[in-house]
């Protein structure tokens, strides 16, 4: 098995080098045969890496502890289903996973590539293969997942208990896949630069793959938050840990990209800016992989730590320098098709959007690297933790939500105050009304009121446009559902974006609700005793302990009441792993649209008493609703539109008022 894996790795290295070289040769020789051959080699890389993956999984299945990686991340007692998790639990395996994912994405991209970018496809292929070969080479020469031990241990060390959770089956692979998928839009952009096709040919593919990467990374992050919420046992979902930040930063930058690329798509503007943005996004994605792999900052997520970090930093440096070198070589061909006509226009609003997103990304980066700066310049080790980011990033996010509330309704090219006023009057009034109602009903924390008011602004604006659009179609004889469906179908990028905006609002609601109005109580209860939290009464009945091969499972039984109403039995659980001296908890969560009651078992004491931490987390459920909604928005936005030739929005008319209300037909 291990030999097969090793051979496949070498084979994929050969294939990748061949593909990259031959595609350049094909361009030079103007030979379609060579280009086709390079393509085929690219198609074969996922096959080779797939065999390598199968080889490593096979080694896990057969408990081949001579393979160092298997011995370090598995043992005889491990349940079979965790092999999938153990596969990427460590550095070498996750590298293999990343390379495999990248090879699949590369093949998919090339297979589905549209006619418009065929001219730069060889260059794109080259960039993809260079990145892929970096990972394969690191595996072969520095971190081989198939490396053997001299002596075969009787049993492996087992998998980290924190990784034994359903969330772990999808969350880490999605994060890794998301980060590595940044390579595709980056390669598309670099291919455009290298081949000199620096017009708008790359825009549609770049946007599509930008959104794909954005979605995978976003979904992975959300799943991670869900995992933290249900297992890490501190009642939160986001800790601003360096590793969390390192997936957050590229995600924020690519969010900026998928917005500003619309300006190029519709208006042929921001050409230079979009290229720069995707390069920066890829840089952040690489920085993320560097932090994940033994970066210089401590983190709770350091599962795949190694000393390889510096290789990744080096690769990141080389990529950034060479990318921007190419960028400046093509500088002169990157002028916008047309200039900015007014500071009060959709184009300008997109610039502000990009500025805010980049500020968020770089401020986060600043917080991540400040401990190093402090260490170097004042010799003092310093922590930059959650309170810093909440104070600094929080207000920036509110600005983003504000912009999200008004920018979609600013017309392209040139807006007048008059049409702005007519579009924004209703949303602004609704936002103020919501804020007033909240204050009157006792929600008085200023930041919370601002946050909820801004959420109302966004929702009201979107609903206003949808209702008006559907109504005007209804007047022409369509019934309401059809009218609404056709409205959405008429401008999918726009309305898919709206759905995604609504999902972001749900996220914001959950974050604002739980950070401003969370209740927390730590309590020791003896069996039969009860405690009040908020308007709930929690009664501890007792606990069962179950000895397993590698862990002790202690399951508490609690009953929840509100007043005299019995709300149900709950079973928070705590598993203790003696070999790791680690515990993992499964919170009992009673989730309602208003608030979550969240019970985590702490210790179970000798005398039968148990330590509980009880939270009331308002509105958190909406954060998990946001995930599927976000996905829906992406599907709407990416659904192929008939006759989708690059049409510039040249209608000087206010499109929110006219064209989109009837659906652009």
């Amino acid at each position: 098995m291990a030999d097969l894996g090793n051979i496949s790795l070498l084979l994929s290295l050969v294939l990748g080098i061949y593909s990259g070289t031959v595609s350049m040769l094909g361009v030079w020789q103007r030979s379609p045969q060579l280009l086709q051959s390079a393509r085929n080699a690219t198609y074969l890389t996922p096959v080779a890496l797939g065999v390598a993956t199968a080889g490593l999984i096979g080694a896990f299945v057969s408990n081949d502890f001579q393979v160092e990686y298997v011995a370090a991340h598995s043992n005889l007692a491990m349940d079979t289903q965790y092999i999938w998790v153990a596969f990427y639990a460590g550095n070498e395996g996750s590298l293999l996973f990343i390379a495999f994912a990248l090879s699949i994405m590369s093949a998919l991209f090339i297979f589905f590539s549209s006619r418009t970018i065929q001219a730069s496809l060889p260059h794109i292929n080259l960039v993809l293969m260079i990145v892929l070969m970096f990972f394969v080479a690191v595996m072969i020469f520095l971190a081989n997942p198939f490396a053997r031990l001299d002596t075969i241990p009787l049993d492996g060390q087992g998998i980290n208990p924190l990784l034994r959770h359903p969330g772990m089956f999808i969350h880490p692979p999605m994060l890794m896949t998301g980060l590595i998928t940044f390579t595709v839009p980056f390669a598309i952009a670099m291919g455009a630069l290298l081949s000199g096709k620096t017009g708008d040919e790359w825009v549609d593919s770049g946007r599509t793959w930008g959104i794909i990467a954005w979605t995978i990374l976003g979904a992975g992050t959300l799943l991670g938050m869900w995992w933290a919420y249900t297992i890490l046992g501190w009642g939160g979902y986001w800790a601003w840990d360096p590793v969390e930040n390192s997936s957050f930063m590229p995600w924020i930058v690519i969010t900026a990209f998928i917005h500003s690329i619309m300006v190029q798509k519709r208006r042929g503007m921001f050409r230079m800016w979009n290229l720069a943005l995707i390069i920066i996004a890829f840089g952040f994605a690489q920085f993320g992989m560097f932090i994940n792999r033994g970066g210089p900052v401590p983190s709770v997520h350091s599962f795949g730590q190694s000393t390889l970090g510096w290789i990744f930093l080096l690769f990141m440096g080389v990529t950034m320098v060479s990318s921007f070198a190419v960028f400046f070589m093509r500088y002169n061909s990157l002028k916008s098709a047309r200039p900015l006509e007014s500071a009060l226009s959709r184009e300008a609003a997109f610039l502000v959007n990009n500025f805010l997103f980049l500020t968020i990304a770089f401020v986060t980066l600043w917080g991540v690297i400040y401990p190093l700066i402090s260490d170097i310049f004042q010799g003092q080790i310093i922590t930059v933790g959650a309170p810093f980011f909440n104070q600094v990033i929080g207000p920036l996010f509110l600005m983003v939500i504000f912009l999200m509330g008004i920018a979609p309704f600013i017309p392209w090219r040139h807006a007048t105050w008059l049409n702005l006023r007519s579009a924004l009057m209703m949303p602004v009034v609704s936002a103020i009304a919501v804020a007033v109602i909240l204050v009157l009903s006792g929600i008085t924390k200023p930041w919370a009121v601002i946050a909820f008011g801004l959420c109302a602004l966004v929702v009201a604006g979107i609903l206003r446009e949808w209702v008006r659009g559907a109504l005007s179609r209804h007047k022409r004889g369509e019934n309401y559902p059809v009218a609404f469906a056709r409205l959405i179908a008429g401008n999918r990028p726009r309305y898919g974006g709206y759905v995604a905006h609504l999902a972001i609002v749900l996220l914001a609601l959950g974050i604002a609700g739980s950070s401003f109005y969370e209740v927390q109580k730590d309590i020791v209860l003896s069996p039969g005793a009860s405690t009040d939290v908020g308007d709930y009464t929690i009664k501890y009945i007792g606990a069962d302990a179950l000895e397993r091969a590698d862990r002790t499972e202690a399951k508490a039984h609690v009953q929840v009441f509100r007043g005299d109403d019995f709300l149900g039995n709950y079973y928070p659980q705590r598993d203790f792993y003696p070999s790791f001296n680690m515990a993992s908890t499964k919170a009992a969560i009673r989730s309602t649209p208003i608030e979550d009651l969240y019970i985590i078992p702490g210790e179970f004491l000798e005398d039968g008493r148990a330590v509980f931490r009880i939270h009331i987390n308002p509105l958190v459920m909406w954060m998990w609703v946001a995930g599927p909604l976000l996905f829906l928005g992406v599907i709407v936005a990416l659904w192929p539109q008939r006759a989708m030739t690059t049409t510039y929005a040249n209608t000087p008319k206010d499109e929110t008022e006219a064209s989109s209300a009837i659906g652009t037909k």
Partner: protein, 196 residues
């Protein structure tokens, strides 16, 4: 032995001003620092939780003592509650742990001395960035008013004549309006119909 003197005297007026500046900018609501003797047990506990969230666990990477489940974190939580019950303020308690473990025990860098840098940079970035953004927008607009229309990409060649007609029309209108009042640009619909 119970309370440490708070070293506030050395902070200069300038520092205080900067702190106020940041405070105003971000409306940082710092926890109540008043004497806690008059507080109810519930309020004390809420305060204690706030302090827990501001102290890092000394042995585990990047977790606060509120999050961490190791023994020393639990002990620190107990110390926090004892000190609050004795009447220590939030700042005194932070100082107590800083003296023992160094500044890295704090979840956020202190807003003084060299570490002010970490706090000042984000608002500075926002301000300087906004300035640059405004300059870019103005420059891009000037380009619009100064230069001849650019060639459009081939993709839209079929509507090219139409577009240049519209652009000329708009420019004529804009030039006319800048001499009067730019805000009152006549509704651009006058530049004829809809492309689609």
């Amino acid at each position: 032995m119970d309370t440490m003197p708070i070293e506030r005297n050395n902070s200069t007026v300038k520092e205080l001003l900067t702190i106020t500046f940041i405070a105003v900018l971000f409306l940082i609501v710092t926890g109540c620092t008043s004497n806690s003797k008059s507080l109810s047990p519930d309020e004390l506990e809420t305060m204690a939780q706030g302090i827990d969230k501001g102290l890092m666990c000394p042995v585990c990477p990047s977790e606060t003592i509120d999050q961490s489940q190791v023994q020393i974190a639990k002990q620190m939580q107990i110390i926090v509650r004892e000190k609050l019950a004795e009447g220590s303020s939030r700042d005194t308690i932070f100082q107590f742990f800083t003296d023992r473990y160094g500044a890295r025990i704090l979840a956020e860098p202190p807003k003084s001395g060299f570490n002010l840098l970490v706090w000042v940079m984000p608002p500075m970035a926002l301000l300087v960035g906004s300035g640059i953004l405004i300059m870019i927008i103005l420059a891009m607009r000037r380009e619009h008013h100064g230069e001849a229309p650019k060639k459009l990409p081939a993709a839209s060649a079929d509507i090219e004549p139409y577009l240049s007609a519209v652009d000329q029309e708009i420019r004529r209108l804009t030039q006319w309006s800048t001499s009067n009042n730019a805000k009152d640009l006549p509704p651009p619909q006058s530049a004829k119909g809809n492309v689609e």
